[in-house]
Symmetry: C2
């Protein structure tokens, strides 16, 4: 096959830094481009398996760096989004896409109901059950974690270059995303935008909607252009800036809530 990412077994979900005392929950749905034997390679070639349609390159490294800096739990996925996109409802066409951007995915063509059901049972259900359980336990302990999903996006999409470098996307409540964005412009030095290169209206905020919004949690989906994550040193630098922005945003919003600041 030639993929570096073929695997005999797989974990739908992995939790790291579960005992971290920080105030955040980090989730990385597109962490992996693994194609475990149970699902096969979907008939794609090695270039496709390494491309942004199979995963979010650099997102796991960034999420791990944030988890370390924020001393906060990280939950990440163990299979390619082409097998099951965990940031989509299981009935969405894009959850098991026949075509992603310009790439055809033969193994997703004319999927049987049985295969959709199997992937949902083996990947979607355990992943989101684990996120829900980690969250419920923190709530029961009296914590109100800020909920952060970590993604990367391709610099060129359908042939069009994207100028935005880091996007901050929210579901129902914009306040945390806006506050992080303001700080990230300074702390990262990158071109930061709200709800770019896409927004919840495009159906990309499923994880936030499923977990953060029902509990009224502060939340943001961070999207970093993946060419900025190609080198370790760059990941480190961006993680430094984003961790600082996330921490300051939470402090500022809590100070406002406590009357220490005026809005």
């Amino acid at each position: 096959m030639g993929f570096g990412t073929m695997a005999q077994t797989f974990n739908a979900v992995t939790v790291e830094n579960g005992t971290g005392m920080g105030r955040f929950m980090l989730v990385c749905e597109h962490a992996s481009n693994a194609f475990p034997d149970a699902f096969g390679d979907l008939g794609i070639d090695a270039d496709t398996a390494r491309s942004h349609v199979a995963w979010d390159p650099g997102a796991l490294a960034l999420a791990r760096a944030l988890s370390k800096r924020l001393d906060s739990v990280l939950i990440h996925a163990g299979v390619s989004r082409l097998i099951q996109d965990l940031n989509r409802p299981p009935n969405a066409q894009s959850a098991m896409p026949e075509k992603s951007e310009v790439y055809l995915i033969p193994g997703n063509r004319d999927l049987t109901t049985a295969e959709r059901l199997r992937r949902t049972r083996e990947i979607y259900i355990p992943f989101h059950a684990r996120v829900a359980a980690e969250l419920a336990q923190r709530l029961a302990r009296g914590e109100q974690p800020a909920f952060v999903t970590v993604h990367s996006f391709t610099p060129v999409y359908f042939g069009q270059p994207r100028n935005v470098e880091i996007g901050f996307i929210h579901d129902g409540d914009a306040s945390f995303a806006e506050t992080v964005l303001d700080r990230a412009r300074v702390t990262t030095g990158h071109r930061c935008e709200l709800n770019a290169p896409y927004s919840a209206a495009d159906g990309v905020a499923h994880t936030l909607r499923l977990h953060a919004t029902p509990y009224g949690l502060r939340h943001v989906m961070i999207e970093v252009r993946n060419d900025l994550l190609a080198e370790d040193a760059a990941v480190t630098r961006i993680a430094d800036g984003l961790a600082e922005a996330l921490r300051r945003a939470l402090e500022w919003l809590e100070d406002v809530g406590n009357g220490k600041e005026t809005v």
Copy 2:
């Protein structure tokens, strides 16, 4: 103890009619007034354990009758809401209340974090994980179930009589609740009201918000005044009327969507 409902073991969640081919998912969070040994009786007396603060009397019988008439899955809880109210976030005071209406619950006073966490792990997490899994599998099969929670309420609350007989409560999207309500007025002959005797703004729509709203599902929380459910014959009659209203509401909304009706 004298409770008819003390139990050595317990199931946090029970699924009935899981292979039903109907278009609904029925959930009954307050089905049981069981106080399993693992949690004890919370220091309450037998009257309190039989009262509406411990469960929704008649709700399970009604939910089962609806499950049969609609040939649809029913998921119900196995412990008293005083141990864990599954229709509240686990961090809400009312999830493990020290006082419910006029009843003091000694076993919930000054709960330790460890005990809150244990109940959340043993009751809340498995219950909602099962609801989520049943729903995800139906979505993966291409179904779009209408999501219905079944409750009962006390005719007298803090000394005030309630005139409403059946309430229809919604979370974000009112359309299904309104449509069922209109039909239920005719099919049940009872005094039906929207968002009565309380509404999602009172924090009582947690289950709808956690499961139905993120997927954009049609949903309604049905609240029947519990004096109307005291006799089997009455449960049967109300179930007939509500099942008819639910079925007709779904058909009507789908016909509108298909252009067969004008709004």
